[in-house]
Structures are given as structure tokens and as C-alpha cells.
Amino acid sequence: MWVVYTLNGLYFAALLFLTSLGLNIILGVMGILNLAHGSLYAIGAFMAAWVIIQILTKVPVFFLYVSLLSGLVLAGIVGFLMEKSLIRAMYKRTLEYQLLLTFGALLLLEDVIKMIWGGQALYASAPFDLLGNVDIFGHVYPIYFLFVMLITFLAGLFVWFFMGRTKVGIMLRAISLDREMATGLGLDIGRLSTFAFVLGSGLAGLAGALVVPTTPALLGIGMEPLIFAFIVVVVGGLGSLKGALVGALLVGFTRSFGIAILPEIELPLLFLIAGIILVVKPQGLFGR
């Protein structure tokens, strides 16, 4: 069974990585912890589920997988509107107000989701069912999980390339390293911040969209991933992309093996490990 646990760990880690990467980019570039990040995840999940239900029998199978991107797009758009209308006014305010504003946005968005898609669960398991299973060392494993890992790998590669090699990415890193200096060099902070926020929101939406074929989209679906993303951010270090990867792997594997061995205390175990890391290294594994 160890093969399956390892793969499950990778699968959890993949979804977590997408969510916490988005959170971390926003945190690093803008210095704002977005408590509504889980709602963007939920928006991605609901949008993808809704689109899949709408087009299920009308299009070739391939497009079902493309439609998962709708979650990314909608979450990105919502992120754009949110940044332009709310977050923008918060840059110069203190931490309390920034957090409370995103908390307000969280409450607001949860009910907006309820208004648009109603209170019922949306089932969209077609992409999961259609891919079937594969045999790995004598164990049956759903191909869809492997598909999620592949997409996450591609997304991670894209972000890594983007942040490391492109001009915009380098500018974003400059802002997260030293905001004042970056302003002094004439970078357009406002625009780049919007961009970072949209990118982060989109990643959360993608994670939500990817998860929806395996579990129905429910109200409050974004709450749990948000907490795990917080743990990843705390363990990996604020604003560090490498930290997000390592933290996601750590949390993913702890969860997968914890569920397998000690299902009752899977979460406390996770906190115990996070707690030990923090006592030893208070700024997280890759924190500055």
C-alpha cells in the first residue's frame, strides 16, 4: 500500500502547492495575507463544476478538461475586481485593517457564491470517471490524480520560469525583496501588484477547479485548503516559493500517511510537526 500512500501524498501536495503558491505570491509581493483566498478557491471549484455540468454531453471529452481552466479564469477576474476595488485602498493601512478587509471579503464572497449557484452541492465527477484507473505495482490508482499532478507540475514550472526568467517576474521579486528600493527604481508598483494578485487568485481558482471532479462543490469548500495553505506558509516561510513547495510536500505526505496510519489524529500530528519546526526555526524553513 505504500505506493498508494506516497502517490496520495503527492496528490495532496500538488493541490496544496497551487493554493499556497498563490497565497505566497500575494503575501510576498503585496505584504497582504488574503483571508479570502479560500473563497477564490471555492469560486474556481463552483465555476468548473457548473461549466462541466452545462457542457457534459454536448462536447468531445477533451473539452471537459479544458473547461477546468474556467475556474482559473473566473477566480482571476474576481481577484482583479477585488484588488482594484478593495485591496488597492489598503496598501498604506495597518495590518489589522488589511486582514479585516479580506475577512470581510471572505464573508461577502461566500454568500455571493450561495446567491449565484444556490446552496446545493454541484456534482461534476465526469472528468474523474472518464479517465478510469491505472495499475501501478499491483495497485489500482485513478489516472485523474496523476493528471492533477501533471497539471500542477506544469503550473509550477510556468511560475518558476515566469518568476525567474521573465522581466515581469524579476520585477515582482524585486518588489517582494525591497519594496522601497523597487519604487525608487521606477517600477509601477500598483500595476505589478494587481498582476500578482490576479496570478495568485488564478492559481487558487485552478486548484479549486482541479479538485471538483473528485469531490462535489459545497459551500465552504475553500475553508480547509485555506488552513492547510496557512500551515504550508508558516512552515515554509513567508513569501518563499521554495518554501511553498517543500511545505506542501511535507504537509501532503504527513496528511496521506497520517490518514493511513492514525486517522483520528492526522491533523494534530501535522500541527505537532509544524510546531516543532517553528520552535527550531521560528521564521520557517525558507523564511527570511
Partner: protein, 333 residues
């Protein structure tokens, strides 16, 4: 100097008058409104404790639901497992003790950090407690929660009395006295040298350290005191609510505590009290009139952050200040 003293004196006169008015509240409020008011009073104690950390020490915790839940669950667990000890005079010290223990453990981890890191850490730790309360079904009742029967008070049992009667009689006065004690104690803490040291830390950490204040230790003390107040509020709240669930430790509940503190205004000592009572009514009003109450609460919060950053009490104070200034200007003319 003399002016300051007279201001202080009139302030205490106002407090006493308000207290006397509050003594007669059960006479002219309906039982429904009285219960709401009792929720508000319990939350006011929570707000007082929370504001020591937010307003006076400058640490924003998004996990104070944990201490609220500990206070509440102490009551629930004693009701379930130690019914012979289910007496108010035992329950309250027990709730204080357990919230003390938990806030020492969590506080030790949290105060090593400040700002966002502190907030996330406090949040995550409260979610740890949530997970434990939720998952250990056979001990804590899981998502069903625990039922809170009426407690005995100094050997006097309330068997056969219905909850509304209990709440409108003895319990209201007990709650009010607990509130008054918390108020006076917190006022003392805030004005003590310790309280001033906390404010120094809030305003400038480096400077505070240079004049010899042990920053981290003082933060831990503030964390513990605030945790105990919140635990007390949680314990008092349970008797009004009659039921506890794991949701009390969920971080969204902690967010509501932050919200009521901001609603009243965390720059002012009395702010959180005003905020707690207002929030109780606002939430009930929103829940009673629309199924989208979270939308209403969230939108109000956003408007508040944008337009009234000092809360309702802050707005009133600045308004009074403006009026006073205008008056002095007039007399000067």
C-alpha cells in the same frame, strides 16, 4: 492636572450610573431582548480581553476563538463527566484555569512572532483545537457538541426552573457582576505600569526593549491575560446559549471577535464593549431578515474598515471632541 482629575471622576460617575441602570434592565426588556443583551455582555468581556492584545499590545490574533472554546468546553465537559462539581463557583475558576493553561502553551509559540506571522500562527493553533474537538467524537461530542444544563449556585439548585427564568433572574445579576469585575480589573491592568509597558511595546518595540522592558515576556503575559478573559467570556456565554459546538474554535468565529472589537473601536477602552453589544444585535438582525446574513456582515465590515476605522466609539469620541473644540472657540470669541 486638576482638569484631568475631574474628567476621571466624572467618568467613574458615568460608569456607576450605567451600572445602576443595567441593574434594572431585566425589568423593562423582554426575555428575548434580555437574552440578546446577555450574549452581548458575555462578548463584552471577551472584547475587553481581546483588546488588551490588539489595542494595547498591538498583536492581532485570529485565533482567540480557541480560548473562548476552552472556557465553554470546560463547562460542557464538567457537566458531562463531573456532574457533582457542576456548580457555578467551581465552573468559573475551572474555566479560568484551563484557558490559562492553553494560553500559556499557545502563547509561548505565538509571541515569538509579530504581525502577520503571529496572526497566522494563532489562527492555525486555534484550528488545531477545532480539529481535536471535532474529531474526538466520543469525548467532546464532535459536531453535535455538548448540552449545557443549568448550574447550581452556592448550593442552590435550579432543577425544575426553565432556562428563561434562570436567565432573567439570578444569572443576569451574576453575569453583570462578573462583567463589572472584569471591567474594573482590566481598567486596572491597562492603567498599571504593566499596561503602560505594553503600550510602549505597541508604539515602538525597539525603544521599549532599550529602556529595559522584556518585550517577549510582556507579550506573553498580555496573551495569557487576554486568553483568560476570553475564556471567562466563553464560560459565561454557554449558560445563555445552552449548547456548545466545536465551531467556537473555528477561525471564522475568531474573526467575529476581531470584528466586534473593530466595530466598537480598539483605540478606546470602552470600544469593544459597545462593539460586542452592537454586533450581537447586528448579527441577529441580519440573520433574521435575510438568508444572506454573511453578505450583510461582510459588507458592513468592509464599509467600516474603509470609512470608520476607529469604530463606532471612536467616531463618537471624535465627534464629541469636535463639538467641544467648537464650543471653546465660541467662548473665546
Amino acid at each position: 492636572m486638576r482638569l484631568k482629575e475631574t474628567v476621571k471622576k466624572t467618568r467613574w460617575v458615568v460608569y456607576v450610573v450605567i451600572f445602576i441602570v443595567l441593574l434594572f434592565v431585566p425589568r423593562f426588556l423582554s426575555i428575548f431582548n434580555l437574552m440578546l443583551f446577555e450574549y452581548g455582555l458575555a462578548f463584552a468581556i471577551v472584547g475587553l480581553g481581546f483588546n488588551l492584545l490588539l489595542g494595547y499590545t498591538g498583536l492581532l490574533s485570529f485565533g482567540h476563538g480557541a480560548y473562548f472554546a476552552v472556557g465553554a468546553y470546560t463547562v460542557g465537559m464538567i457537566a458531562k463527566y463531573l456532574p457533582e462539581a457542576y456548580r457555578l463557583e467551581i465552573l468559573i475558576p475551572a474555566a479560568l484555569l484551563f484557558s490559562l493553561i492553553l494560553s500559556i502553551i499557545f502563547g509561548f509559540l505565538c509571541v515569538r512572532h509579530t504581525k502577520i506571522f503571529f496572526s497566522i500562527l494563532a489562527l492555525s493553533l486555534s484550528m488545531l483545537l477545532y480539529a481535536l474537538l471535532f474529531k474526538l467524537y466520543h469525548i467532546t461530542g464532535g459536531s453535535d457538541g455538548l448540552r449545557i444544563p443549568l448550574p447550581a449556585v452556592f448550593g442552590f439548585s435550579f432543577k425544575g426552573i426553565r432556562r428563561p427564568e434562570f436567565l432573567s433572574g439570578t444569572y443576569y445579576y451574576f453575569l453583570l457582576i462578573m462583567f463589572a469585575i472584569s471591567f474594573i480589573v482590566m481598567k486596572g491592568i491597562v492603567n498599571s505600569p504593566f499596561g503602560k509597558a505594553l503600550q510602549a511595546i505597541r508604539d515602538n518595540e525597539v525603544r521599549a526593549e532599550l529602556i529595559g522592558i522584556r518585550v517577549r515576556r510582556y507579550r506573553l503575559y498580555a496573551f495569557i491575560i487576554s486568553g483568560m478573559f476570553v475564556g471567562l467570556g466563553g464560560a459565561l456565554w454557554t449558560f445563555v446559549n445552552g449548547h456548545v459546538t466545536a465551531d467556537l474554535s473555528h477561525w471564522v468565529f475568531s474573526g467575529e471577535i476581531v470584528y466586534m472589537t473593530l466595530l466598537g473601536g480598539f483605540g478606546i477602552f470602552e470600544g469593544p464593549i459597545v462593539g460586542a453589544i452592537l454586533f450581537t444585535y447586528l448579527k441577529l438582525y441580519a440573520m433574521g431578515n435575510t438568508q444572506y446574513w454573511m453578505f450583510v456582515i461582510g459588507a458592513t465590515l468592509i464599509v467600516l474598515v474603509m470609512l470608520l476605522p476607529n469604530g463606532v466609539a471612536g467616531a463618537i469620541v471624535s465627534l464629541l471632541g469636535k463639538l467641544k473644540r467648537r464650543k471653546t472657540e465660541e467662548t473665546a470669541c
